[in-house]
């Protein structure tokens, strides 16, 4: 009786692990799309409405869902608190939290880190150019992430439960 319960627990645990991995694969392209939306809105706010950076970041952050919203709002609050840090540093600090909370990988975070060096430093033209560059690169990543998701999501859902069954059978 206890053996059966143990086996069921092992199968459920491995199945859950498989489902979590599958979910990460499916969350990544979605979060990349939201990030791209956010950067597009930021470009509009900065280049055409000429809003100052903290306010622009806050407005963009309020329109997006979690966790991308948290990223923009954190950058905005770090800047408005006026502790004397540059926009690039505020961006990097918020990036650290985004790394933990989101399903994004090192490659996308590196792209965003690279962007932090030009944030709030250059004039309108340069800012627009670097924003467009970041968006290009993120769009490429999003396409690749979408392909990976197609291939891997279902695979990991099945794999989790199958591995759980194998382990349960070996141990019973």
């Amino acid at each position: 009786m206890v053996k059966v319960t143990g086996a069921i627990l092992v199968i459920m645990a491995m199945g859950t692990v498989g489902l979590v991995v599958a979910r990460n694969y499916s969350l990544r392209p979605q979060q990349l799309r939201y990030l791209l939306n956010g950067l597009q809105m930021l470009e509009t706010e900065m280049l055409y409405c000429l809003t100052p950076l903290p306010l622009a970041l806050k407005r963009v952050g309020m329109k997006l869902p979690y966790p991308i919203s948290q990223f923009f709002l954190n950058t905005s609050t770090s800047l408005t608190n006026g502790e004397g840090i540059t926009a690039g540093e505020a961006w990097e600090m918020a990036l650290g939290e985004l790394a933990e909370e989101s399903a994004l990988l090192m490659e996308e975070l590196d792209i965003l880190l690279y962007f932090s060096q030009s944030l709030g430093v250059a004039d309108r033209e340069e800012q627009g150019k670097s924003l467009r560059l970041v968006k290009e690169q993120l769009m490429n990543m999003e396409k690749k992430a979408e392909e990976l998701k197609e291939k891997n999501q279902k695979l990991w859902q099945y794999l989790g439960f199958s591995l759980g069954a194998v382990i349960a059978l070996v141990l019973i």
């Binding site: 279902k154 695979l155 099945y158 794999l159 199958s162 069954a165 194998v166 059978l169 070996v170």
Partner: protein, 65 residues
């Protein structure tokens, strides 16, 4: 006649076959072959234990060595 072991081996065999086809249908040929090899190894260990029991039994029955 320990029926449990037979069912265990059969279950592992079926699951290995399922794992092989799942991995193959997702295009991961090498991982499929690795999974099959792993299943075969696990079953081999179980069978070797049973064989060792068999040899001890034969030895004790004939009192040969």
């Amino acid at each position: 006649m320990d029926v449990g072991v037979v069912f265990k081996i059969a279950g592992i065999g079926i699951l290995t076959a399922v794992l092989h086809s799942v991995l193959k249908s997702f295009g991961k040929e090498e991982q499929a072959h690795l999974a099959t090899l792993a299943g075969v190894t696990v079953v081999l260990f179980m069978v070797i234990q049973l064989l060792s029991g068999l040899f001890d039994y034969v030895r004790s029955v004939f009192s040969l060595y």
